[in-house]
């Protein structure tokens, strides 16, 4: 196994942009000259139903073409999924979990007993105030980039311009605000 390989699992619901998040980070990593893969959980997707998306980033070509079973990082973009699904399944002992929640990392830790590096950001509020929609994916990308130093913030800004065109402004604000506001508890 390539020691520089980072595997990330995103937990979202259909329509919240988890698949797009993984893809935009992969695109940014590739634009920086790195190697990356992004893919959805395979199968029918329904709006509102829990779903996963996957991301691998490495300095070398990635041969692994399986599901991600033991992620280095888990990102939960909808807080209701913490109880609905086993979001920490297979998370490495030295892994990190990034959660969209109005609670503090301390509150989440005492509620769920997580022993991983815990990062929490109120992405829903940020999204409502920036893009005026409760779609939390671009804010969660910002939180991810702060916690996992693997792709530059500017590379993502470029991807947001490319993807959202004239609507990129709010998404860039969401990205940067979450990057600044995410609370991290080692």
């Amino acid at each position: 196994m390539d020691s520089k390989l980072i595997e990330v699992r995103w937990h979202g619901r259909g329509g919240l942009g988890a698949v797009t998040s993984a893809e935009l980070i992969a695109r940014a990593a590739i634009a920086e000259g790195k190697y990356a893969q992004s893919f959805p959980s395979f199968g029918p997707e329904r709006r509102g139903a829990p779903l996963q998306a996957f991301l691998r980033i490495s300095d070398e070509f990635i041969r692994l073409r399986t599901n991600i079973y033991t992620p280095d990082v888990v990102v939960v973009i909808d807080p209701t999924l913490l109880r609905a699904t086993d979001v920490t399944s297979g998370l490495k002992a030295d892994g990190k979990i990034i959660i969209n929640s109005k609670k503090t990392p301390g509150e989440i830790k005492s509620e769920f007993g997580y022993n991983w590096t815990l990062a929490v950001v109120d992405a829903t509020t940020i999204a409502r105030e920036t893009i005026r929609l409760p779609i939390t994916n671009t804010a969660m990308i910002g939180a991810f980039l702060r916690v996992v130093d693997v792709v530059k913030l500017d590379s993502l800004v470029e991807q947001l311009h490319e993807r959202f065109g004239s609507r990129a402004g709010g998404n860039i604000d969401a990205l940067k605000r979450a990057y600044d506001e995410v609370a991290i508890m080692e």
Binding site: I30, A31, Q37, S38, P40, F42, P44, R65, T66
Partner: protein
């Protein structure tokens, strides 16, 4: 300058079709192939690709429309998967028998019932004997490359046979990764304009695909068979020229760490890449294992395959489909028969895995290697074994 971009495999296919400057696309969307026709329809609608996109009501019509397009000399593309290929089946034979060159991409999918939209190789194995040239991609770059190569060799006047490019549904079709896109000028020099030699023309009437009585049918079929076998040299030449031009080299049988290998694992498609990681790990532990993968499935590369496996004691074949009531997997069956007349040949052990999208993790490949050697050591009495299957299935082993 070529450029390195992030592309989903489906979109890489669409880029290759665009750069090949096709004239006609007729396709019906079906999971997991959907993103390919979707992107092509968008390219045509946005004026990025000057082609006729024919939206049809079924896959049978999709390929039928393609036949008509090639008959008037159009560079033609279609794509399907799983049930779509089944519905198209009748016309699949017609395309190759009429020697109509085109490229069809299959995003490989399991067959009903029970309904499964997920990947395996049941669909392509059902058209194994239809006379198409059939190749497998292992990653997104290869999906792009093989489409370009496919047009080049299919349209060669010595080949005039359609090419089927297989890419695994979901595990390739829906994955975004880096792909190197060449300059349009380089593509143009690799892929000259299509000149179909028998274009239908009202001023020079001719009949294609006529009725054949028993006194001529055999000759038409054997001429098709001879042409397909002879096409192999052109396919290899096409890969050679592709490699010279683009720097990526393809072979009909790909080998990986086979030096001194006592045991070889044989895979096809995207599973090959994960398998390479397992081979690396085992080599690091000093095990003499290697990997062989079939890129070219039809015409079957007998010489290259026999050459690749002749020094091994054990050959473990992993199929992604079942030949019901047969030897287990169709690939294993083919491989056993290809080796039968060889004076020295490895013991062949058959596994079936990855059906209907069932993932094969690294541990699963490890299991196949260990169990395969164990079975071979006992003289391989078993017909085949299915990786990770649950329930009362031991009867298969007792056969």
């Amino acid at each position: 300058m070529s450029c390195r971009v992030a592309l989903e495999a489906s979109h890489a296919v669409a880029e290759a079709v665009r750069m090949a400057d096709v004239d006609v696309i007729a396709a019906y969307p079906i999971t997991p192939q959907t993103h390919i026709p979707e992107r092509l329809a968008e390219m045509v609608a946005d004026g990025e690709l000057s082609a006729a996109y024919i939206p049809v009501e079924s896959e049978h019509s999709a390929l039928s429309a393609c036949l008509g397009a090639v008959a008037v000399g159009a560079r033609t593309f279609t794509t399907t998967a799983g049930q779509g290929l089944e519905l198209m089946h009748e016309v699949v034979y017609v395309a190759s028998s009429m020697r109509y060159p085109m490229v069809m991409v299959i995003a490989n999918r399991a067959l009903s019932a029970p309904l499964s939209v997920w990947g395996d190789h049941s669909d392509v194995m059902s058209v194994r004997d239809t006379g198409w040239i059939q190749v497998f991609a292992q990653n997104n770059q290869e999906a792009f490359d093989l489409v370009l190569w496919g047009f080049r060799v299919a349209e060669d006047s010595r080949v005039l046979t359609p090419v089927m490019v297989n890419l695994d549904g979901f595990t390739l079709s829906h994955v975004t990764e880096a792909v190197i896109l060449p300059e349009q000028e380089v593509v143009n020099s690799f892929l000259p304009p299509f000149h179909y030699p028998f274009v239908l023309n009202p001023d020079k009437p001719a009949t294609h695909g006529a009725f054949a009585a028993p006194d001529i049918y055999t000759e038409t079929k054997i001429s098709q068979e001879v042409a397909l076998r002879k096409s192999k040299d052109i396919l290899l030449q096409g890969w050679q020229e592709f490699g010279d031009m683009f720097g990526r080299h393809y072979r009909p049988v790909e080998i990986y760490r086979v030096e001194g290998a006592k045991t070889l694992l044989l895979t096809m498609g995207s599973f090959t890449e994960t398998a390479k990681m397992v081979i690396d790990a085992r080599r690091d532990r000093g095990e003499l294992v290697g990997l062989v993968s079939l890129r070219l499935w039809r015409p079957f590369p007998f010489t290259e395959f026999r050459q690749a496996v002749k020094e091994a004691d054990t050959l473990i074949v992993l199929d992604r489909s079942i030949s019901f009531g047969g030897q287990g997997g169709p690939v294993c069956s083919e491989v056993r028969s290809a080796l039968f007349s060889e004076p020295k040949r490895p013991v062949v052990v058959s596994f079936v895995g990855g059906l209907g999208g069932r993932d094969m993790a690294e541990e699963d490949f490890g299991y196949v290697l260990d169990r395969g050697r164990e079975v071979a050591a006992k003289g391989s009495p078993e017909l085949f074994e299915t990786v990770g299957v649950r329930g009362e299935v031991s009867g298969i082993r007792d056969l």
